[in-house]
Subunit: 291 residues, 6 copies
């Protein structure tokens, strides 16, 4: 019922892994195929296209649903419904950002300091022009087709580019002057399709499954046994958001406790649980969590 | 006690993965060894050979047990006991088939239309000849050693070849005229060894473990909590063959439900369970299922 | 609070996998970095160095905690506290050994038989000299920088070298005359740091997590249902060290049994459990076990 | 004295090979560096950039000399001096072409047949719009970022794309309707720099060396001995443009003949030379030819 | 005019290299294409097929010319014209042989010793049967599809297989009992095509070029200068089959000497030439030699 | 007659390439073999060993001839005869050096400034101790087993290490304080073997061939024709060390000139030769040069 477009290129492998984990495995004849199928009654067509092109195609109704980055949605000013952000990677609090970067030793302290005629290279010319207009800067925006950060200072004076940790900018002698956008990978939908009640329900199911898989990657299931006397101390250690499940054991005085906890807390939680009287502590991997 | 022969070549990696998952890990000095061992009291000899040759060797009693494809059992007309079909891959309703294929634009609509003297290339000459005899076709069967589908039309007029999705045939301008055989990977046994009571018991254990691992790949464990009022609705959603386990929770009014469900149904089941009142829904991976 | 030194080289990948499994993931800019971080409140500095150098640096207090082999601790006669042995690999009862090896056809039956002036090549010259002194042998010890086993007989008469399965020795026409040391990978600590109560508590937590991950690799969680009548037979089959958890099922006459069992026993245990009346038997993977 | 910009991406490896063969080896810290040096007194700065961007930068005087494709010079309508075409590959009469391609079964026979509103995907939007204007077609030009040929028919109705052999077009069910441009790799110069006498002399030396290396790839040195009587017949066989060198041999009645001949003619020339009385025929590889 | 079939598989890369060196470069869309072209006026069709199948296709006239091994020509008893043996590799006096091999410790000393009913595995069943008939042995010939040498002793008693150095046989505990065939790669022609005068001339040209390239791989061109007094000593050192070219130098008393010599003799020849008074000695690579 | 030991490890591939180019191809069963053969009547045994160990074994007479670095000859103070330096790489005037390096921002300006008790890590402890003794520095020398440059400042205060371009030192924040040794790869001989007249002659032949191949890599053969009038100008351009060969052409007024010139001069030489009246200029590759 839904047609779906997925990003070719740098997001491709991570997207396929996530759909696989969400029990929405995408199957193709080969890695280079642009058409695919998903064994799901709600998805009848799957296509791979460059992330730059996806927002427009979803806006135009060529596809009901798409996966792409917020950067390209903003660059193309596409009118689509954003259903969810997907955090693919396990770690890193720092999201991808689109930033204005200038040479380390330049005198500029804010975007407004940029002189008229400043040359700026970017893969996001529209977003860059809008941003500069807002700051009253009259710049020459030079479209870039890659390796933007290596064009300063001989080709341009500044750049607007994607950065994750900033290390590539630093390596090229640049510092961040301003942030235009913080960009996540998003699930987007066509407005018309989303207004259709049946299609919206199907979209919500897909988002539920994707979100459940993303969540599962950051959590584990902890199981342990505990004597009645130690139970309060053990429960007190469980992270706030957790609702542990208690089960009486056949052997009377002990209880079994199960709780889903963030993977990032396990390194301190497990020693603490043992110190509080927990025993036979097990950590099990989870494939999906839907609360 | 049992001697075992495994297929070298295209089935090799999948077979090793399956034995590993079945806790029957096959260990070899190197990937190119033809001899191996399994740490199991029931298996005393492991050998790798081409799948073409395996049916004959099992029939002749050189091995008690073997893994090979139905295609080669049929081609060689071997008299062996088939203990089980193994479905290695997670997905795909379409099994491997041995088909008769002809050029897209040829006039033939059925095997019987083939003219006398038609040239047919195949890796399965015996099976092909039997099939053509049944249809009263007098063909020149040309044995092939690979790339059969690329030999039409300059070398031969038609082929008999393995196909999974048919895409390689289409890419070579061929269409399927008839299907000679649908072929699965099978566990086969020597008739004499299978008549021996002790050996048969050992064979059944091996098949139990392999089957348990195959089954686990297609299922997951779903756990959830549910209020008493919603329990009937939740149970009603569980696939027919499922026998959910119910456990009372320490916190009175809720129950914990656990069920092994087919992985292929999870994409629709989890949204439905949530809609029916299930909460704290977890999906866990399984390594083996024995009912 | 703790500074940690990890081994560069052949143990590196396995050490990183283990820390990852222990929820102590080590993050580096690139594979060739010598500095890293662990997201853990107890570890504030991580360094990679050659395993040969690690025992001395831990003894000298440059690091609180280190991972290296017993072979290098002994070779350097470092005065450190050994907190735990880590068995990285799943299988193989045979640990790594430092052995004295001589040609197959040499007349020597024990170390004491070696004649004065015998030439011995080794990467462990200090350990070798101490060993030979104990046996009253006056040898020429030739330091080796690799491929020691290929130097007999044209360069030296015998070697002292690491061996795991002995196959490399045999391939070079050598046999083991004596064993100088059985060597495991160990977690070692600086004496002063270990005497500090707070640091020792932190060390014990780290060892608990590492040990829990190592243990989990060799075990699985088996779950099954059983009728009351068959329960004693099922419990009798469980390995001795196992303490199965029993849970009453909502459906009266059946019980659910869960037990952590060694992976190596599963191939015989599961068929036996089924024969004893167990049903709906599941095997689940485990990430960590803390008893 | 000269600054030079080389193309990053698909032309990169071939360009580096050619400069190496021209004794103008380009050295970089790593394959991913965007800056490099050449050990040559005439070149003081080397830069790698995307071929799309190079024509503009050379026009603007950011570089004196550049290597890029005619396709991008035309797309960007850059005003530069073209010094030489470089034919990198040994073979293939068919140059790269920018073509308008439509579905095999479409009714259109020329560009003028395209209906108003036709959707066309391309990496060359400017060139495409100019071409369509000339043919009076009002099209929607959709910029493409790769895999253009896989977008027909569901995304667009036609494409303008690069093609070498046309096989990728055919595989996607497309046929060529018209050719917009035949494109070679070219050495281009900035107008101002080229007007500077000293710079122009340096440019001519570089082009001489590059051309000498390109030429050497397509030629070989043939040496042979011949009796005086057969000399005229042998010389008559030499390709027209060839000026063979004759040397008297010490042994009186024979001559040695040497000639540089096109590699492509060797397969017919050598048998003919032998038939005409040539003997001791040798073919030697050449590194550079400057006539 | 000629159609040509080349061997797919183990001989493929070496064949392509040789045709390239012979200035008959074979071009394909990709490595997996089965059709190709050669830029030569005498060759109008090029096809890749398995070497097993080539002799028959050439006999049947599907191709005029083919490259395959003598082993398959003999096995298939194809009636073709053999135009030339090609020695692809630089070194090794030992050609490939088809041998009868038996276990090291078997009592048999010649083929005739083999008992009736002996089981022999081979990829050459026809050749094997003919050979055994000649020796009066009644054997069970078991067709093999690879790894023949690893089938003794549990599957068969002996094998007939290809061997180059014998090391694979030895590694499998086998020794050679008899040699059925010494096999080179050959250029073969269809009888009818070869009888056609024009086609035969074209074939001879192709063989001349291939042979010239093979010969060039084993030779180098040595150039040196020498004083008149030392000339006889220098010439006396040149290998017997060599006809050195002498050229007077402009500088009177010296001569330039050039000779094509076997690469294998250079390591002793060059020091000897220098000792005899040669100077400015150069060694140059050669691409083709036609005498 | 001669036994030869070659370096295992980082010099291995370059050494094998050089022996191949010298027509002394080294053949081994596999890349990991420690024994090899050379098809040369003067070499009867070839062995691979670590470069650290080679000087001692050659001194002790276990081998007649060896290839290793000057760094290890000096470190081990071995008494061997050095026959030749081998410059493997085409480029780089900067040889490998063993240097004393300290942090960029340290106050020390010469080795003598180092304070007593300074900690120095190195793979060359003996050479380091001798050097520090000469400068009156009392240091703690810490043996290193790799990654020495990454140990400053947390493990040691300074290092003695190999450097080629200095870039790895700079990347680790170090600067060179002093140079202990400039190290080339050398051909070394055992004193006794070298005193044997026949063995010395054989050694000189080997060195002649190796040197001829090294020299050939840095030179090319330039051939050109020139009119009598232009001959003096053309000859004047030839590099000083060159002795061009002049040959009269059959066509009277022109001469052929041939000269071996350094590859590094070709980029300026060829344009100059053309400007001076040279024509039909060819550059040919050379395999060996013996003057």
């Amino acid at each position: 019922m839904l047609s779906l477009v997925l990003p070719k290129g740098s997001l491709e492998a991570a997207t396929l892994d996530l759909f696989d984990a969400a029990d929405l495995a995408v199957r193709r004849g080969s890695d280079r195929d642009y058409h695919a199928v998903v064994d799901d009654p709600r998805i009848d067509r799957v296509r791979f296209l460059r992330p730059q092109e996806i927002p427009q195609y979803v806006e135009q109704g060529l596809f009901d649903l798409g996966i792409t980055g917020r950067d390209w949605i903003t660059e193309t000013e596409s009118d689509v419904v954003s259903l969810s952000e997907l955090q693919y990677s396990k770690a890193t609090g720092q999201p991808v950002r689109v930033v204005l970067a200038v040479p380390m030793d330049s005198p500029w302290r804010s975007a407004a300091d940029l002189p008229d005629g400043v040359r700026i290279s970017t893969e996001f010319p529209a977003m860059t022009r809008r941003f500069l207009d807002q700051h009253g800067v009259k710049a020459v925006v030079v479209p870039s087709y890659g390796a933007t950060e290596a064009k300063v200072p001989d080709i341009v004076d500044a750049i607007v580019d994607l950065t994750e940790t900033g290390s590539s900018l630093r390596k090229n002698g640049l510092r961040v002057l301003d942030t235009l956008l913080t960009s996540y990978t998003e699930v987007i939908a066509n407005r018309g399709a989303h207004a259709d009640r049946q299609k919206r329900a199907a979209m919500e199911d897909i988002v539920l499954l994707l979100g459940g898989a993303v969540r599962a990657r950051r959590h584990v299931l902890v199981k342990l046994n505990v004597a009645a006397a130690d139970l309060p101390a053990v429960l007190a250690l469980m992270p706030a958001a957790t609702s542990p499940t208690l089960m009486p054991l056949a052997t009377g005085e002990h209880s079994a406790v199960e709780a889903v906890v963030p993977k990032a807390t396990v390194n301190t939680l497990i020693p603490a649980l043992k110190a509080a009287g927990g025993f036979d502590i097990l950590e099990l991997p989870i494939s999906k969590i839907v609360e």
